[in-house]
Symmetry: C2
Subunit: 385 residues, 2 copies
């Protein structure tokens, strides 16, 4: 049997269970060749509009859906983007990163969908066979650790990788991050202006970029203005440890009169600790925490938060990745740098192009000595407690 014969009448005479219509069936029903069907449906080739619409009509009538697997095999494009997140233990992401990650993933999903891609959520700790079993056009990596073997392997096998968080020592295609140093300095200045004399920091013990850069910025600022650093560090992935650390910080003999917490739960942790020690916020203690949650707008008092703008990050990361996917001939070393807008670019020629995104400080009552009117008016004047 020749391929041609095979092509026209493939089905065995005994009609077996119902199978999905393939491109061959459409071609047969429309009385044209496979090529014509493919061209008509994909808007390629040179075909008169009449043929094109007729083929489309037949395809519609048969309920034809092209096989994603076959298309992927043929074109080398799956339309799938991996979204990788470092894991601590069993869970896909940590407690403190939760809101950030959720927001970021949401924006990333939207952005990808808008350009015809879908996101696959893949914890870095996934069994290797899961990674290998999925055809990915590219990968977004959130906060990769130094020398991440996963990133290295992806990069080596030609899959574009864009990281959220400046990579320590990984060969990524590009990266996006907040300007953490600027953010911390902005907060410290803000607190100083509000009258803080000794600003404390609640930070983490892990070595990821965010924690490291933020802490360094704090220490640098302390050195510059001549303040003795006052900080407590705790394992941020442990939900319970934050409350303990907050307590420790306020129990110190050199108790700070203002605190910045690097992680989302620190706001409530610090607020609770302040209550325990009879400290009024903001009168006795100024408070700022990094958080994406708007519950801090409704706490008593409302707490000033730093937003890392995860939505912007997610959108940017995905767009950079898709630019790389679609702009590179996959193998030929096309200059990727050209794809990225010059603004925000940090390094001109060296290692991977990075984009710094701004943060946003949402100032509320907790970081201002004279609290302005808040949306929720207090039940009675803030007199003696």
């Amino acid at each position: 049997m020749t391929a041609a014969a095979n092509q026209s009448g493939r089905r065995p005479t005994t009609s077996r269970r119902l199978e999905r219509a393939g491109i061959r069936d459409v071609a047969a029903a429309a009385g044209v060749s496979i090529t014509t069907v493919s061209d008509a449906l994909n808007g390629k080739g040179r075909l008169p509009d009449e043929t094109r619409s007729r083929v489309r009509e037949v395809a519609e009538r048969l309920g034809y859906r092209p096989s994603a697997a076959a298309r992927t095999l043929r074109t080398g494009r799956s339309g799938l983007i991996g979204l990788t997140v470092t894991t601590y233990g069993e869970e896909p992401f940590t407690f403190t990163e939760f809101a950030y990650f959720a927001e970021m993933a949401r924006a990333a999903t939207s952005a990808a969908l808008g350009r015809g891609y879908a996101l696959v959520v893949l914890p870095a700790s996934s069994r290797h066979d899961v990674w290998g079993n999925i055809a990915l056009d590219g990968t977004v990596v959130i906060d990769p650790p130094d020398q991440d073997p996963l990133v290295s392997e992806l990069y080596r096998s030609g899959v574009p990788v864009v990281s959220d968080g400046k990579p320590g020592n990984c060969p990524v295609t590009a990266w996006v991050d907040n300007d953490h140093e600027a953010a911390v300095l902005g907060i410290l200045d803000h607190l100083s202006e509000a009258g803080a004399r000794r600003i404390g920091l609640l930070t983490g013990t892990s070595t990821d970029t965010y924690t490291r850069l933020s802490t360094e910025a704090y220490l640098g600022w302390c050195a510059k203005v001549g303040q003795e650093p006052v900080y407590e560090a705790y394992p941020a992935h442990d939900p319970a440890a934050g409350a303990v650390a907050a307590d420790r910080l306020l129990a110190r003999p050199d108790r700070p009169d203002a605190v910045y917490g690097l992680f989302d739960p620190n706001g409530t942790d610090l607020l609770a600790a302040a209550r325990r020690y009879g400290l009024r916020v903001p009168d006795d203690l100024l408070l700022v925490t990094c958080s994406e949650s708007d519950v801090y707008a409704a706490t008593e008092p409302p707490i000033t938060t730093l937003s890392l703008k995860p939505r912007k990050i997610g959108t940017t990361v995905v767009n950079l990745l898709i630019d790389a996917i679609e702009g590179v001939d996959s193998g030929t070393g096309v200059d990727i740098a050209r794809l990225f807008p010059p603004r925000f670019r940090t390094a001109g020629n060296g290692p991977p192009p990075g984009t710094l995104m701004p943060t946003e400080l949402i100032v509320r009552a907790s970081s201002q000595r004279r609290s302005p009117r808040t949306t929720v008016s207090p039940p009675r004047p803030p007199g003696e407690v």
Copy 2:
């Protein structure tokens, strides 16, 4: 050139850009056939251990990674599961569902990964071409609306569908949901026991299963105990509307002395509204809200919450789906019902098998007249305000 010749020495003499090693390369390097390589790597066929390990070694050395696309094309299995969520407007999921969805998705991801599958997040509103471009082994649908065309099409094309939320009128393979009626009744009883005389409800205007069943349970309870219903409904997908509705509820002439809020932000909304009206919680107003967030453990006072246990739901949904995927010969009408454990099953023979999952009421100070000691001890005795 015959297929055989093609098979052995396919590469053109001019070595082009570096290509990933294929199964052919491994076969050639190991001096065996393609079949043997495939069998050795997949643990199939009859091969002596010596051959198996040798082939594996060669594959490892060449950095061979099987093509996911080719495997999917051949086997019809992609290892991909769609996670669909109904959308309101542009965003993949609504504000109120946020924490629930995030937790559920996290658990679902873990469960899927544990069984070798990965999750693809796909808003129902995605462009059709995105849906069509992905080879899905099955789909999880969150709270499908009645007559969801998407679900119908998936089901028709043979893709197993399991829904989170009892489907209104969709042909799903199976579904999982909380026992919303029991949950609401439990809360109402709890509030009654705490001394509530008139219990109000903050509910939504949408027609999804959760809102509908919960509201019906409330109304039924009112009818039974002879209380006039006191409730306000608002469009739950609008973040700002909740505060307004909470305010309306407490401003009514027949103001309730206890309120249950169906959506996550209702807790803070109600707390803020109570403050505005000078109502003390729990003294003047008992409060319960449905929420997955633990911020309610740290509010002043801590608020009793109902957890829908999204993690359990996510895990169960995925496991049911994968059972269906792996248990059915895709086309032959194998009895799916047999796959599901008899306990929890609602209907025996009729429409799709459903599983009811329990909820959990986390009782805190806001719903108890005599507040027991909380973890955060108040700064001073709870005397007059």
